[in-house]
């Protein structure tokens, strides 16, 4: 309630801010004129002080020479292609051009596009706005005298990171390629895995200044149409000047604004995206972001790793159960420790009581405060480790973890038990594949420690119930967040708590309301060969 009111006030403040004045320069929607000088003047005004935009005037040598110029942004185009495929052709292939224009050069541009340029990606544009967009999308735009439209040819170039293994989601077995910042490369990584026309990649642009290219990917015939419409509608509603990362989109289309839990998943792995598409989910690729969004997301998707599907089903099941335990440890271990030590000492076995009591003798802080302090120090260390260069990061962990931890225990400031508890919690929280889910756990952990220090185990239960109620109320694009558990569907457990072998998963999960639930033929399990070798 308070937060709502706060945002309302904030909104009313921001609404009072003056509307941003329109950008200087000629009005955008202005069409190109037939006049060469006029065009050049307007465009030079438009691209004034843009050091990377190059104007290259030249003449096309027909019987009557025609003046022309091309504009391109040098930094994001391939200069080799411009000179080889455009300039060279236009300047040197005069004979061919003369032949082609025998019937008059009224539609010279069309002739050049159709019969001369050996580039695959060409289109015509007719106003300044489009010229601007094309130039910054990596096109060379050709404008010739006497034509009111221009020819844009895709000559994209410039620097891209090469495809490397994902840093955030590394794995032992399975494909090693990871997404990069270029949306085209990312689309190709998905397309390579799904060679079907049913994989749709719908692109659109969002952001009035960034013109960020966004691709909505889904598999027709598997994805639920209603879900798709909802996603498209929500993206269509976005009116902003900039999209720098997928997370901008994520926050603008999420169901619940102030939830700690991630309602949209992201991944750096193309194989994970492909598998999700095959389950009837939708991926949103955002240019300049190596992390496509996956929607809808459910709680359990946060606990699954792509590698689960590449290892044997028994081992994967073991890992999943391990992760589930880790989740509980990461959330509960410190608070349960606080509750047991300060309220329910009788829970400890007798021999442990004496040893624990011995280590806690003469400590200055009560256990709750002690654990809070160590947790806080640990959070500091983690934050420092992330921001620092990798080499120094290691030094930090040595100093922080080993030196301070050891020294604090020796100095009698904290008990070794609390250090062990916090360290175990940290390790458990690292074993959860989704980083955002880790965030939620970190914050909730603090909340639970406080509750445990007030009301002991009952306080923890209250806290857990609040979390559970919250989780039950969450929806990600209409899909209940806790779906295979609440609402309960037992059939889905085969891919949640356990990872059944592939031949046993002939149905897609129902969670994402796919319209085509059958993945493969039933009963493809291995069977013993019918013919046995005869004894010789």
């Amino acid at each position: 309630m308070f937060i709502n009111r706060l945002t309302k006030t904030l909104k009313s403040w921001t609404n009072k801010a003056p509307e941003p004045t329109s950008a200087p320069g000629p009005p955008k929607k202005q069409p190109l004129s037939r006049n060469y000088e006029d065009n050049i003047k307007k465009l030079q005004q438009l691209f004034a002080n843009c050091a990377d935009v190059q104007f290259h005037p030249f003449q096309i040598n027909l019987e009557e020479p025609v003046r022309a110029f091309i504009i391109y942004a040098t930094t994001i185009t391939d200069n080799q292609v411009i000179s080889d495929s455009i300039l060279k052709t236009l300047l040197e292939e005069t004979r061919k051009l003369q032949q082609l224009t025998k019937g008059g050069n009224a539609n010279l541009l069309q002739i050049i596009q159709d019969s001369l340029l050996n580039l695959t990606e060409t289109s015509t544009v007719s106003n300044l706005d489009e010229v601007e967009r094309k130039v910054f999308a990596g096109n060379a735009v050709l404008i010739i005298d006497g034509s009111s439209s221009a020819l844009a040819a895709g000559v994209r170039g410039g620097e891209n990171r090469s495809i490397v293994e994902s840093d955030t989601e590394p794995g032992v077995r399975g494909p090693k390629d990871g997404f990069i910042e270029s949306i085209d490369t990312n689309m190709s990584l998905i397309r390579r895995r799904l060679k079907t026309s049913r994989l749709k990649l719908e692109t659109l642009e969002v952001g009035e200044l960034t013109h960020t290219k966004i691709a909505v990917c889904y598999i027709q015939g598997i994805v639920n149409e209603q879900l798709l419409q909802e996603v498209k509608q929500r993206i269509g509603r976005i009116k902003t000047d900039s999209i720098l990362e997928g997370s901008y989109i994520e926050e603008l289309i999420m169901d619940e604004q102030y939830s700690l839990f991630p309602l949209v998943q992201y991944t750096e792995r193309p194989d994970k995206v492909t598998a999700s598409l095959l389950e009837g989910r939708i991926a949103i690729l955002v240019d300049n972001s190596p992390m496509p969004l996956l929607i809808p997301a459910t709680f359990i998707t946060m606990l699954q790793a792509a590698e689960d599907y590449y290892h044997g089903s028994v081992f994967a099941t073991f890992t999943r159960i391990l992760r589930l335990i880790a989740l509980n440890l990461a959330l509960l271990l410190p608070s349960v420790t606080v509750a047991v030590f300060s309220f329910h000492q009788e829970l400890l076995p007798t021999h442990l009581v004496s040893s624990v009591a011995g280590t806690r003798q003469g400590l200055p802080l009560p256990i709750a405060l002690e654990i809070l302090v160590i947790e806080f120090t640990f959070e500091l260390l983690r934050e420092a480790g992330i921001r620092l260069p990798k080499t120094i990061g290691q030094a930090i962990s040595t100093v922080g973890g080993l030196v301070i931890g050891q020294a604090a225990v020796n100095a009698g400031l904290v008990s070794p038990i609390s250090v062990i508890v916090v360290a175990t919690t940290a390790i458990a929280s690292f074993s959860i594949p989704n980083y955002d889910a880790g965030y939620a756990l970190r914050i909730l952990r603090f909340m639970l420690i406080l509750l445990a220090s007030f009301l002991g185990g009952v306080g923890i239960m209250f806290g857990l119930m609040i979390i559970l109620i919250h989780l039950c109320s969450l929806r990600s694009f209409g899909v209940p967040y806790l779906i295979p558990f609440a609402p309960l569907s037992l059939g889905e457990i085969k891919d949640i708590l356990v990872r059944a072998p592939w031949w046993a998963m002939s149905k897609r999960p129902k969670s994402f309301r796919t319209v085509n639930p059958t993945r493969q033929k039933d009963n493809q399990g291995p069977s013993k060969p019918k013919y046995r070798r005869k004894r010789s």
Binding site: F343, F462, I469, C472, F485
Partner: protein
């Protein structure tokens, strides 16, 4: 589920006192009555599938009488939630944290319940769905561990106090099973109304069997004399279990039980709030929510002096109130619809 959570802890003690060795039979009787009750509610609900009891009571009885009846139900639900809260705090004060003042627990619980009520009945049901498997699993583990200490001779002699005492003892469990009467207020919210009967009967039977097992377990472990004296017999069962290094299992019971209590209070709280809001056609439920929370925190400590009072109330007064609201009124309403031959279609 609503039924199980509190019943588990209290029923063995209360029933054992009256029926001793045949206590488990009373649970089975209650089970049968529970099914009859469910059918009653189901057929009543089928006649007005889009209305809650408060709405069709006004159609059947006229405006004033209908409102009085609805208000009666609100009080009834309030009594249940107050009782549950009181039991909850007594339980915690007696077994876990004797020094914490009761209203601290009650306030905490009401905050959690209020959050659930704000989120709506669908969320409450989902929470319930999530907890239920854990609940059953932990009970099954406990019962399995208790098998070692069971002594079946404690169940004999069978029916030595006569059939009547068994029937008498079954009144309390009947009152607990009868709490499915909340369905008459939730009927329009149920998606598959046709399945209510089947699923409901299945649920009641499952709960009944579970309760029977628990009663049998406590009886066979402790014998009828002790069980009758114990206030929270099942908890002592959990305390009693020692399986190699696994012991002190009562904490498992307590914590799982807390979650069940939260759901139950949330359901009652929801019904109180929504019925009042609808009755007086209020715009916002904020103040009703707050007022009821305060009532729920104050009343448990005001109405009962000690846990003994609660036990007395539950044994002697509660069954008659509960049965009126759970069996008698729905029954009479059903009779009235049959007599008046209200057409079903008109109120859709």
């Amino acid at each position: 589920m609503i039924v199980i959570s509190t019943a588990i802890l209290l029923i063995p003690g209360i029933t054992a006192e009256k029926a001793a060795e045949s206590a488990w039979l009373s649970v089975l009787i209650a089970l049968a009555v529970g099914i009859v009750d469910l059918m009653l509610i189901y057929y009543l609900g089928r006649r007005f599938p889009k209305l809650t009891l408060s709405e069709y009571a006004e159609i059947l009885l006229g405006k004033t009488l209908g409102k009085v009846l609805t208000f009666g139900y609100v009080l009834f639900f309030l009594t249940i939630s107050v009782l549950v809260l009181r039991e909850f705090t007594d339980f915690l004060n007696m077994n876990l944290m004797p020094e914490t003042p009761p209203y601290v627990f009650q306030t905490g619980l009401m905050i959690v319940a209020a959050y659930a009520v704000v989120k709506g009945i669908e969320v409450i049901v989902r929470v319930n769905q999530f907890i239920l498997p854990l609940f059953i699993l932990s009970l099954a583990v406990l019962l399995a561990l208790a098998v070692r200490d069971m002594d079946l001779s404690n169940l004999q002699p069978f029916l030595d106090k006569g059939v009547l005492s068994v029937v008498d003892a079954s009144l309390v469990p009947i009152a607990w099973f009868g709490q499915i009467v909340v369905l008459v207020f939730l009927f329009p919210k149920v998606n598959q109304a046709e399945d209510i009967l089947r699923n409901g009967i299945f649920g009641i039977i499952a709960a009944g069997i579970l309760l029977t097992f628990i009663t049998v377990a406590t009886l066979t472990v402790f014998g009828p004399e002790y069980t009758g004296d114990m206030y929270f017999a099942f908890l002592y069962l959990a305390k009693y279990i020692k399986f190699v290094t696994i012991q002190r299992l009562e904490f498992l019971v307590i914590f799982i039980w807390v979650s069940g209590i939260v759901v139950k209070v949330a359901v009652m709280y929801y019904l109180e709030t929504m019925t009042l809001v609808r009755m007086f056609s209020l715009q916002s439920k904020k103040y009703v929510l707050l007022g009821l929370a305060l009532l729920n925190i104050i009343l448990p400590n005001l109405l009962f002096e000690s846990p003994v009072d609660v036990g007395h109330f539950l044994k002697n007064i509660w069954p008659s109130i509960a049965l009126t609201f759970e069996l008698l009124i729905p029954g009479l309403l059903l009779l009235l619809t049959v007599i008046k031959k209200k057409k079903v279609g008109r109120y859709h």
